[in-house]
Subunit: 331 residues, 2 copies
């Protein structure tokens, strides 16, 4: 009864196409419908207690595997990318800021690559403003932009296309340790010999030029906005911060970059993404964070998880695995 | 430096809230932004060669675990649901019809639960028409509704709210074996003692009453629409059909119900969903289909996968695992 085998599926479409008249030839003649040519908007709503949260997709950047993982042979990373069905020799890195409406404050946690990335990425990254617009959110209504750390994909979206403030009424909150690190001329001088770090220092300087007074520095272990508590998760950068968002009996962990893409660094928590400032500390943080998240069965939101970027983490021996949340049609 | 432990995260938000003044108190006073209260539209576009495809989310139905898996103890199924972070004692079953624009024909593969399910499901299911509208698709422009089989969640969407045809210009294509099975008075009589089967027979009779002449019956292994080939995958129902959609060098497998939810039946391919007509045959089909899909590294679209319902299947011993596709911001 079953005629299901590799050969049939490989050859099926072509063979059938050659041999079979279309049974649909009796349909009424109508003009063909043109392709839409554009993706659906990238936003997704979920509740945390009484808070309405929105995952905002800034896009997905494709980069060569190359030196993406600093402490393993390139071939091993390429094999992991292939096993995750990424384009040949490439890794796909998603970006997902989170919008939290606490009822009294509208808080944007991280703000993406910025619109200046739209063109060089062929529309793949820098989409936060357009996805906020699709979600019906006026950038002027955002009260706080809460930075997890000062890497470009998290912070450059603070600027609009003309260089003005993308969220003109927002207080900009930055981890105090992070601000201190990137604003130090001594640290910048020490980074001169490392191209990546040098570029990071230059980027922070450029993005924050003239708006230093708009920035509020915050400490770890504090409620930095209503129901949003900063959690020390250093290593990726010296001031890297995650957040607990809590309302009523509900709680989520907004991890930021405790890992980069889960296909690599949850599955292999001892792999080091090339962007880490202190990879050994990042690794230690990662294990502590996920051991806790798995034990607590906590909902984890990851900046670099696939949109809508919400899931749970389970232990798998000394590794971890992400269980993505099922898309809900209602909130 | 790290202060990351279970106690902090459990107690963090509350403790910090009691102890810390909000640093955001300096923000300019503005009216709070009301919650949006509605989910993002559930559609997602992807290309297969020159074809533009759209995954259309009909919703997600919540049902008690109860007898959902016919051949294992209820407790074991409940444990699997809990491990997948489904609501306590429940399973979440997503539904995802696929719209294929071949350039010459607009083909809808399966059509969801129908708008009559919107109210009883509290808006959780029966959303195909509204998500087609969100995607800018006029139901009148659909040329073919291609049924994988005649269970209510796949076929009842053929009717609009007033009972008229939801896709008035569409040819309705049904697997010949499926039509034969459900339209047989002898089979219906035999099913009288089985409530589920009795209801299924009654449903098919009701949904297709008066429109029998609009139905085209198709065979397996044929190109049933441009580039779309029917594949025999019986067991779930006698005429259950999957499809290869092929254009240029690209190809996907639209599996329909080779499994119900992957968290249960890909991970445990020998578990039998209660809805199977011939569970042993469905199990045999499942292994053949996924052994082939894994070997071919084929893109698989599953009606009951989490939206956007696209992924790859990898072997994991005698089991399988779904690797969901990463949401792409561009098509």
């Amino acid at each position: 009864m079953i005629d299901l085998n590799r050969r049939q599926l490989l050859a099926g479409a072509a063979a059938a196409g050659a041999a079979t008249a279309l049974t649909s030839s009796l349909s009424p003649a109508r003009a063909a419908v043109p392709p839409a040519g554009a993706q659906a908007p990238g936003f997704y709503r979920y509740k945390v207690g009484s808070y309405e949260c929105t995952s905002i997709n800034d896009g997905v950047f494709l980069r060569p595997v190359d030196n993406f993982v600093a402490n393993i042979p390139k071939e091993q990373a390429e094999a992991a990318a292939e096993a995750a069905y990424m384009p040949k020799g490439m890794v796909a890195v998603p970006f997902n800021p989170q919008l939290i409406n606490t009822g009294s404050k509208l808080v944007l946690i991280d703000c993406g690559n910025g619109v200046s990335m739209l063109e060089p990425s062929k529309g793949r990254a820098g989409r936060t403003l357009q996805n906020l617009a699709a979600a019906g959110v006026d950038p002027k209504s955002i009260d706080i932009v809460l930075m997890s750390h000062l890497h470009p994909d998290h912070t450059n979206g603070i600027r609009a296309a003309d260089g003005s403030m993308a969220f003109p009424n927002a207080e900009i909150m930055v981890p105090a340790k992070e601000w201190e690190f990137w604003m130090s001329p001594e640290n910048a001088a020490k980074a001169e010999s490392n191209t990546m770090m040098k570029n990071y220092f230059a980027n922070v300087k450029k993005v924050y030029a003239g708006i230093e007074s708009k920035v509020t520095r915050y400490d770890w272990g504090k409620e930095v906005a209503p129901g949003i508590t900063s959690i020390a998760t250093p290593g990726h950068t010296p001031g890297h911060t995650s957040f607990v968002v809590a309302s009523g009996d509900s709680k989520i962990l907004v991890q930021a970059d405790v890992t980069n893409i889960p296909e690599f660094f949850l599955r292999n928590p001892d792999w080091h993404v090339v962007y880490d400032t202190d990879p050994a500390l990042a690794q230690e943080t990662r294990h502590k964070f996920y051991d806790m998240a798995a034990a607590e069965k906590a909902t984890v939101v990851g900046f670099h998880f696939a949109f809508p970027s919400i899931g749970h983490v389970e232990k798998d021996g000394s590794k971890y695995r992400l269980i993505p949340a099922v898309w809900s049609p209602v909130i």
